[in-house]
C-alpha cells in the first residue's frame, strides 16, 4: 500500500509538472481555467493552485480531450479562439483541426505534437524546447 501510495504521489507530481509547463508555455495567465471530463485527470488537476477546474467549456482557457465522445461533442460546438484544445491521443489530432496539441506516450516515451497552422490560429508561440515537436501538417 505504501509503495502504491508513493508511486501514485510521484505520478501526480510528474503529471502536474508536465501540464503546468505546457499550459504556462501557451498562456501568460497567473492561473488557468481547464475543462476536463476525465475523472482521473480532474483528481490530479484539483491538487494544483495554478489550475482551476471549470465545468463550463466556454469559461475554459484549456480543454483536455481524453475520449472520442468528448471530441465529437467539441467538434459540433463553436469554440472561441481563446480556448486551446489539447488531447492525450495522437488520433484525435488527425480527427479534429480544432486541437492544437497533444501529449501522449509512444513506445514508452513521452511525445508532444503541435501543428503549426493551428498554433498560429490561436496566436500561440511555444518556447524553444517544444519547437522540435511542431509539424507543418499531419
Amino acid at each position: 500500500l505504501l509503495l502504491y501510495g508513493q508511486a501514485y504521489a510521484l505520478e501526480v507530481r510528474s503529471t502536474l509538472k508536465l501540464y503546468h509547463h505546457l499550459f504556462s508555455s501557451m498562456s501568460s495567465k497567473k492561473s488557468v481555467n481547464v475543462y476536463v471530463e476525465d475523472v482521473e485527470y480532474a483528481n490530479i488537476f484539483v491538487k494544483s493552485k495554478y489550475i482551476n477546474l471549470v465545468s463550463d467549456v466556454d469559461k475554459a482557457d484549456f480543454i483536455l480531450v481524453t475520449t472520442d465522445k468528448m471530441l465529437m461533442k467539441l467538434n459540433t460546438k463553436h469554440m472561441s479562439n481563446d480556448t486551446i484544445i489539447i488531447t492525450n491521443k495522437y488520433s484525435h489530432m488527425t480527427q479534429s483541426d480544432k486541437i492544437v496539441g497533444a501529449f501522449y506516450y509512444r513506445k514508452g516515451r513521452k511525445q508532444f505534437l503541435f501543428v503549426k497552422p493551428r498554433l498560429e490560429e490561436h496566436n500561440v508561440t511555444l518556447p524553444s524546447m517544444y519547437k522540435k515537436y511542431i509539424v507543418d501538417e499531419l
Binding site: K107, G108, D136
Partner: protein
C-alpha cells in the same frame, strides 16, 4: 595482548571486511555487466537478421516499397512481431522524412499498432547520430523510463546510406531477470553491507563510550588537572626530553583539612591548580599524582630561562594565600624541578629523580624549591631499572675496598666493602649506589645484587684469611625473609669466616620493634659476625640505639667531621661523650669521612679508636692495598 594492539586488530579486521565487501560488489557488478553485454551482443545479431529479412521483402527502398505495396506494411509489422521475444519490449522501424522528422514505417506490436508514418519524436540525439555515423548506437534509458532498459538503434543501409532505423527496446524486466543470476551473491553483499553499517555504528558508539571513559580516566574530577593515566599516554606520542618537569607537593595538606574542613581543602586544591594554570606557559600540562602532589610538564620551546621561571612560579604559588569560602588559607609548598637532559627517553627516570629530591626536601624542613641542575643523561640512565638490570645480567658490578685503620698506628684493621656499578660504555667509570640502589630496592634485582655482594665478601674472606671485612646492610633487609635466608645461607656455608665480617646497619626509618631487631642481630652474630650502627648521631641513629640494641661498633656520622671543622670545641665534647659511653658499653667507635690529617689528629686526640676516610685510603681494588702492605 595490549589494548592498543586489540584495537588495531579490530580496526584492521573491519577494514578487511569492508575491502572484501567492496571487492564482492565490484565483482558481482562486473559479472552482471558481462551478462548484460552478452545480451546486447546477441541483440545486435538479432537486429542484423531482422534487417536481412526486411531487405529481402523490400529490396533496396523500404519506404517506396511500403508506399506502393500496402499489404506489405502489415506483413512487415508481423515479421517484427515475430521477433518480439520476452527480452524485447518494442521493435519498430523509423525513417527521417524530408523535414527531418521521424516517422514510423513499421511496428511489431501485437495490438494498437502505430499507424504508418505517424510522427515519432525521440528525446535523444543518438538517433540522428546513427544517420550521421551509419553505426549502431546504444541508448541506456534512465530511471525516468519505467519500461525500457536499453535501446539498440540499428541502421538499415542501402546504397545511398542509412535508409531507416531499426529500434529494439530491451525491457527493464529482462534486465532485472539477468540480475537474478547474481542475486544470491547480492544478498550476501547486502547482508555484509548491513553488517558493516551496524558494525560502524557500533564502533562509533564504542568510540564515544571510550572517549567518555577516557575523559573520566584522564581528568581529575576535583581539580580538572590530568591524571597519571594521561601522563602514561602522553609520552607514547611525545618526547620526554622536549619538556621541563616540576614536581610539587603542598606541605602538610592533611592539616588544612583538619584545621578547616574537607570542602575548604578541596577548594584550596582547585584554586591551587587554577593559579598554577594561569602561571604556566601554553601547551603545559598539570598532572595530579596523588592527594596534594602535582607534576607539571612544560614544553622547552615555550619557556626561556628555566631557573628564573621556576623561581617565579614558586613565588606566585606560595606568596599570597588562597581565598576560599570567605577564608584565607596560606600554604607551604615543596617543589623540585628538572631541566631534562637531552636523549632521556623514559619519564620514569625523571620521576624517580624528582621523587627522591622531593622526599629529601620533605625530610629536611619542607617549604622550599630545589632545582636539579646539571643532571647528565648518564646520571639519569644510572637510575633506570632497565640499565641496572642489564648491568646485573652482564655482571657489570664490582666491589671496592676502603680501609678502616687504627687511629694510633694508621694500621689497616679491616676494609669496608663498597659496591659499584660499571658504566656500560666507559668501563673505567664506576657508579656509586646513590644512583641505583633506590631504584632496585624491594625488587628481585636488589636480592640479586645482595647475592653478588655476599658472594664477593665471603669469597674475599675465604681467599685472604688474615683480613676482616665490613659490609652495609639496610635495616629493611632484616625484615625481608628472602634476604635473611640468603645471608643465613652464606653464614652457614662460610661459618669459619663469619667472625671476620661486620654488618654495618644503615637505617632510613625509625625502629619500633627493638626486640625483633635484636633477635635478627643475634642470628647474624651466631657465627661470630659483628654488628655496627652506621651514621650514628644522625636521624634515628642515636643514643636510644645504644641502650636498646646489642651493637658492637658505632660509626660516627659525617656531620661530626663538619662540626669539628666549624665548631671544634663543642664537637669534641660530644664525640668524647659518645666515645666514653661506647667504651662503657664495650662498643668500638669508628670515625668516617676523615679526609685530612687535621681531622685525623682531632679524632686521635679525642681517643676514637678507628678511623676511615680518604686521608687513610680511598675505595680501591683490594689487591692494590694488599700490594702496598
Amino acid at each position: 595482548m595490549k589494548q592498543q594492539y586489540i584495537d588495531k586488530f579490530l580496526i584492521f579486521l573491519i577494514a578487511l571486511l569492508m575491502v572484501f565487501a567492496i571487492f564482492l560488489q565490484v565483482t558481482t557488478y562486473n559479472s552482471t555487466q558481462n551478462l548484460q553485454n552478452a545480451e546486447i551482443e546477441r541483440s545486435k545479431l538479432y537486429a542484423k537478421k531482422i534487417v536481412t529479412l526486411l531487405r529481402l521483402a523490400t529490396s533496396d527502398n523500404i519506404e517506396k516499397t511500403l508506399d506502393e505495396k500496402l499489404y506489405l506494411r502489415d506483413g512487415i509489422n508481423k515479421v517484427l512481431y515475430a521477433f518480439l521475444t520476452e527480452q524485447y519490449k518494442y521493435i519498430f522501424l523509423l525513417k527521417k522524412d524530408s523535414k527531418n522528422k521521424y516517422r514510423f514505417l513499421a511496428d511489431g506490436s501485437q495490438k494498437d499498432t502505430i499507424p504508418y508514418k505517424e510522427y515519432f519524436f525521440p528525446k535523444s540525439t543518438q538517433f540522428d547520430k546513427v544517420y550521421e555515423s551509419q553505426k549502431m548506437q546504444l541508448l541506456t534509458q534512465g530511471d525516468e523510463n519505467e519500461e525500457l532498459w536499453v535501446s539498440l538503434v540499428y541502421p538499415v543501409m542501402n546504397d545511398k546510406g542509412v535508409e531507416a532505423l531499426l529500434v529494439l527496446d530491451l525491457s527493464k524486466e529482462y534486465a532485472a531477470y539477468l540480475q537474478t543470476f547474481n542475486s544470491p551473491l547480492m544478498k550476501v553483499i547486502r547482508f555484509m553491507q548491513w553488517f558493516l553499517a551496524l558494525s560502524s555504528l557500533l564502533l562509533i558508539f564504542l568510540a564515544y563510550r571510550y572517549y567518555k571513559a577516557r575523559e573520566v580516566l584522564t581528568k581529575d574530577a576535583l581539580t580538572l588537572a590530568n591524571t597519571k593515566f594521561y601522563l602514561n599516554e602522553f609520552f607514547y606520542t611525545h618526547k620526554v626530553d622536549n619538556y621541563y618537569f616540576i614536581l610539587m607537593d603542598i606541605d602538610d595538606f592533611k592539616l588544612i583539612n583538619q584545621r578547616h574542613n574537607r570542602q575548604i581543602g578541596d577548594a584550596v586544591l582547585r584554586s591551587f591548580v587554577e593559579r598554577l594554570n594561569i602561571n604556566l606557559p601554553k601547551k603545559s600540562s598539570i598532572i595530579r599524582l596523588s592527594g596534594s602532589e602535582f607534576l607539571t610538564l612544560i614544553p622547552k620551546k615555550e619557556t626561556k630561562g628555566f631557573k628564573a621561571f621556576v623561581e617565579s612560579l614558586y613565588s606566585s604559588l606560595v606568596n599570597s594565600s588562597y581565598s576560599v569560602h570567605k577564608k584565607e588559607v596560606a600554604i607551604s609548598l615543596s617543589m623540585t624541578a628538572i631541566d631534562t637532559p637531552n636523549d632521556v627517553r623514559k619519564i620514569d627516570n625523571i620521576l624517580r629523580l624528582l621523587d627522591e629530591k622531593l622526599l629529601k626536601i620533605k625530610k629536611t624542613g619542607k617549604n622550599r624549591l630545589e632545582i636539579l641542575k646539571n643532571i647528565s643523561i648518564a646520571e639519569v640512565r644510572y637510575t633506570s631499572m632497565d640499565y641496572i638490570k642489564d648491568a646485573l645480567e652482564h655482571e657489570r658490578f664490582t666491589c671496592l675496598y676502603q680501609p678502616i685503620c687504627s687511629s694510633d698506628s694508621k694500621e689497616i684493621v679491616k676494609y669496608e666493602v663498597l659496591v659499584r656499578m660499571i658504566d656500560r660504555d666507559d668501563k673505567t667509570k664506576l657508579v656509586t649506589p646513590k644512583y641505583f640502589l633506590n631504584t632496585i630496592r624491594c625488587t628481585r634485582q636488589y636480592t640479586k645484587l645482595s647475592k653478588f655482594v655476599l658472594s664477593e665478601v665471603f669469597s674475599t674472606l675465604n681467599k685472604y684469611p688474615s683480613i676482616e671485612l665490613s659490609m652495609n646492610l639496610d635495616l629493611d633487609d632484616l625484615d625481608n625473609e628472602d634476604m635473611m635466608q640468603l645471608i643465613n645461607e652464606y653464614l652457614t656455608s662460610y661459618k669459619e669466616n663469619a667472625s671476620r665480617l661486620t654488618f654495618e646497619i644503615i637505617e632510613e626509618n625509625e625502629i619500633y620493634d627493638y626486640k625483633k631487631v635484636n633477635n635478627i642481630f643475634a642470628q647474624l652474630r651466631r657465627y661470630g659476625s659483628k654488628i655496627a650502627i652506621d651514621d650514628f648521631g644522625s636521624g634515628y641513629a642515636n643514643y636510644t640505639y645504644l641502650s636498646r640494641l646489642d651493637v658492637d661498633i658505632i660509626k660516627l656520622d659525617a656531620n661530626f667531621v663538619y662540626d669539628l671543622e666549624n665548631r671544634p670545641k663543642e664537637a669534641k665534647i660530644v664525640i668524647e661523650s659518645i666515645q666514653s659511653l661506647a667504651s662503657k658499653l664495650k662498643c668500638q667507635v669508628i670515625a668516617e669521612f676523615v679526609h685530612s690529617e687535621e681531622i685525623y689528629m682531632m679524632f686521635k686526640e679525642i681517643g676514637v679508636e678507628f678511623v676511615q676516610g680518604y686521608y687513610l685510603g680511598k675505595p680501591k681494588a683490594l689487591k692494590e692495598y694488599l700490594l702496598e702492605i
